[in-house]
């Protein structure tokens, strides 16, 4: 099996139980768990985290990120073609959790058909249709990180549209 190298680096770290070492570049911008604590509100209060600058992205090359904290690995993608929900000048930038919503395995990105794939039980998610499960065992589509881009091209995540695997609150309390 060939696995995408960028995401695979994340997998090895994650299976050891922590992402801190590889979060590197983004760690400084991620709120600590204390800051990101859920408030007593109807919905959790999401942090706005800077993930990268548009200039850092290469078309169809996944960038490892994490959101809303270092224990929730994700992928930031510039797909090259506008998609619904995409941001940036080309409307093609999206971000997803890479934890398979079936059993929490780390997924790898296939640049060939722009999908995220789970090595555990072969679920597949389409990065071009909002993370729709193409085929698989998960009972929800993939959690997508909601993005915004500022005038400087900085990309921030501001929210999530599905429950991330392994947590009963998207922002841990």
């Amino acid at each position: 099996m060939k696995c995408n190298k960028l995401v695979d680096a994340g997998r090895r770290q994650f299976l050891r139980g922590g992402m801190a070492a590889t979060a590197g570049a983004v760690a400084a911008t991620v709120m600590t768990p204390e800051q990101a604590k859920a408030q007593a509100l109807a919905r959790v209060d999401y942090p706005a985290n800077r993930l990268a600058n548009i200039a850092d992205l290469v078309v169809n090359e996944p960038m490892d990120i994490s959101y809303p904290d270092v224990d929730s690995p994700g992928v930031l993608l510039k797909l090259g073609e506008a998609v619904e929900g995409g941001v940036g000048p080309d409307g093609d930038i999206v971000a997803y959790s890479v934890l398979c919503p079936h059993q929490g395995w780390l997924m790898s990105y296939s640049a060939e058909d722009k999908t995220l794939n789970c090595p555990g039980h072969h679920s597949r998610f389409d990065c071009e249709t909002g993370g729709q499960q193409i085929w698989g065992h998960a009972t929800n589509n993939l959690a997508q990180f909601l993005l915004s881009v500022d005038d400087q091209g900085d990309i921030s995540a501001n929210g999530i549209d599905e429950l991330i695997y392994g947590r009963l609150s998207n922002v841990l309390a």
Binding site: M1, K2, C3, F14, L15, G17, A38, R43, V44, D71, S72, E84, L99, P101, Q103, G104, W105, L106, S108, S110, E112, D113, T115, N117, C118, P119, G120, H121, H122, R124, D126, E128, T129, G130, G131, Q132, Q133, I134, W135, G136, H137, A138, T139, N140, N141, L142, Q144, I160, D161, E162, L163, Y165, G166, R167, L168, S169, N170, V171, L172, A173
Partner: protein, 821 residues
Amino acid sequence: MAYKRQIDRLPIIPSDADEFNVTCHYCIVGCGYKAYTWPMNKQGGTAPNQNKFGVDLSEQQFQDSEAWYAPSMYNVVRQSGKDVHLVVKPDANCVVNSGLGSIRGARMAENRPSKVTGTQQQRLSDPMVWRNGVWQPTSWDDALDLVARVTAQVVQQSSEDDIVVSMFDHGGSAGGYENTWGTGKLYFESMKIKNCRIHNRPAYNSEVHSSRDMGVDELNYAYEDYTLTDTIFMVGANSMETQTNLYLNHMVPGLQGGAKMIVVDPRRTLTISSSEQYAGQENVLHLAIAEGTDMVLFNALLTHIVDQGWINADFIAASTFQGDEAVAQDSAYPAGLGSLDYAMQTCRTTLDEAAKICGVSAADIQKAAEWIAQPHDDGSRRKCVTCYEKGIIWGNDNYRTIGALVNIALATGNVGREGGGVCRLGGHQEGYFRPSEAHVGRPSEYVDQFLIRGLGGVHHIWACDHYKTTLNASEFKRVHKRRSDLVKDAIDGAAGGTREQVVDAIVSAINAGGLFVVDVDIIHSQIGQNAHVILPACEANEMNLTSMNGERRLRLSEKYMDPFGNSLPDALIAAKIAQHMERVLREMGEDAYADQFQGYDWETEEDAFMDGYGAAHTAVTYEHLRAAGNNGVQEPVVGYENGQLVGTMRLYTDGVFTRHGREDGKALFCAAGWRGWQAPGKAREQAAHRFWINNVRANIFWQNQFLDQDNDFVQDRYPHPFVEMHPDDMVDLGLNPGDLLEIINDNGVTQGMAYPMPTLKRNTVAMVFGSPAGSQGNVVNPGVNELVLPDYKHCWGDIRKISDATAQTRGISFKSHEIML
């Protein structure tokens, strides 16, 4: 754009939440789940002592965690009259699934009816009677009085043969030992109904007659045999897609442990592509035979195995019939049965002959024979587990084809031993316990044709929707609607009349060719549109329900919520019908007949269980099954010792075969003579149309599509029934992904959505079976075998575009289903 639930957190299960054993009621595998309920005004916390898992939920849980559940596993339901929180999540301690959830079972909670969260509001809550042009909700007594009066009057004026019954015979959802007994006692003991059929076929019969006639029960192994075997031989089945957790939790460990995999299927399935990933491509052999030619392949495999001397001579001598012919071919036996030598006189087929007919290479057939039976280098025998399902059950020449497959398992002695077995994979769980059905006869009546011919006057339907799941469905629907409309018109014409006048009007309409329809179901089904009385049933976990899975594992799936509205377990509905029949018959002065409807004083489903299955298996009680938990006990249960039920891990370990009822205990071989297309009309249809219309299943809604028609996650993925086609064929027909199309032949028309699938052969399509929005059965001809087994799988048609992709279909993903690692 994909459907999202926008749920960012879920209530935490408190440490003192109530806990229930749940067996998923959708498919045959019967995965173990646990249900947790707790009061609305309470919640657990993230600290280990505040939640059911005893772990710190303020931290991220890692892969395969027991301490996580998806939004689909949560709901708010009614329990003992109060709203409660509900979580239903996979049970890590169940040996069937080891904590794996499927895309179906892990939505059980979400697919519960809830007035609080608004889920499954399609569920029926009250009996309804056709009154003044609409279905009016009413009381049980009112609805059942009408059912009993019409049914009794029709029987009295003619006979029970005018009562036609469609009823489930399976376990799990809608079935189970409680409900098959309730209905069975009503129709086979109080009455002797012979014009009856099962939910997915037009007669009351076995799907695997030949295996049983050969002495081999079709569920004879244990799931662990897949991990103990040398070779998995799968025919006409796609377990990654359907029996998902059987594949992932038992077959995959076998493949990873070195087992080889042979898959016989005209199309490249996901089971094949995933097996290549897990086992390596060199250990997976796909025999992509021409449709309907399975029997020839099996005969060639058997011939090669016999000629190479790879048979298990000791087993054959000890456990199989040693004469010539044991059972002659006749109207009840579509092939002769006897010794191996006897069968070989008919079955003998060379590799080259098979290669020519099946369209695969002789070398590949030889390789398959080697993987099945060639002894290891040290001389020890290979273990091979054989599994099959609808590809041949609903295929060409059911009896002989399945017989030819079982021949191979018997010749190699791969039954009743570790790593062996020759089993159907199954659809629903099993849960059959009824009085004798001997009066039904063999072959049994082709009930759809009986109704189409205008016969029968009353149709009782139990959890069957022939609009979606019968063959020749276009004509069946046309006639069923016309006949039931006659009765609706009669009821409308008698509006304002007394009950007696209404019943008289109904019976007059029946005598004029009408059909009085009683539909018992959990939702208002499509055939229910023709009903005059609709009776609301409940499902597993809204009642206690016992069933057994594909390795005969018997479990009690416990009640954790109230039935929706005034719905009831089928067993208790059957009891109520019997009680009303008795009352009405006494009023009619028919005391002797009324007496036959006694013995239904059941308060609960447990009473029904103990009246039927429990009476015949005294060790098996609800109390003992509760204690056995989600691992239950494998049937047959042979005792109760040291506080535990004692079961049977696999059948026939003693080499004595009993399913045919022969006193000698010897298995029989089947003289499976090839005769091309067995069912009438198939050859002509194949010649007349371009596309082979195969019907297939999808893991997302296999066995629960009736609920998923009201599930947003599923409807978002497949807003129309999919019709998978080769992309080049789509180009030919001017079809883009998501375009709507019609499939047309002389039998009827059906519709769906074009879905590109590059792995398909040209000029074949794979259409989902049983869709509420497009019945594949519309275009299947009425052809059946001698024992009235339908050949759904072989159907040909032409395709026409209806419409460009809709806003809904344009937004879905059409990428390959195969994993890209």
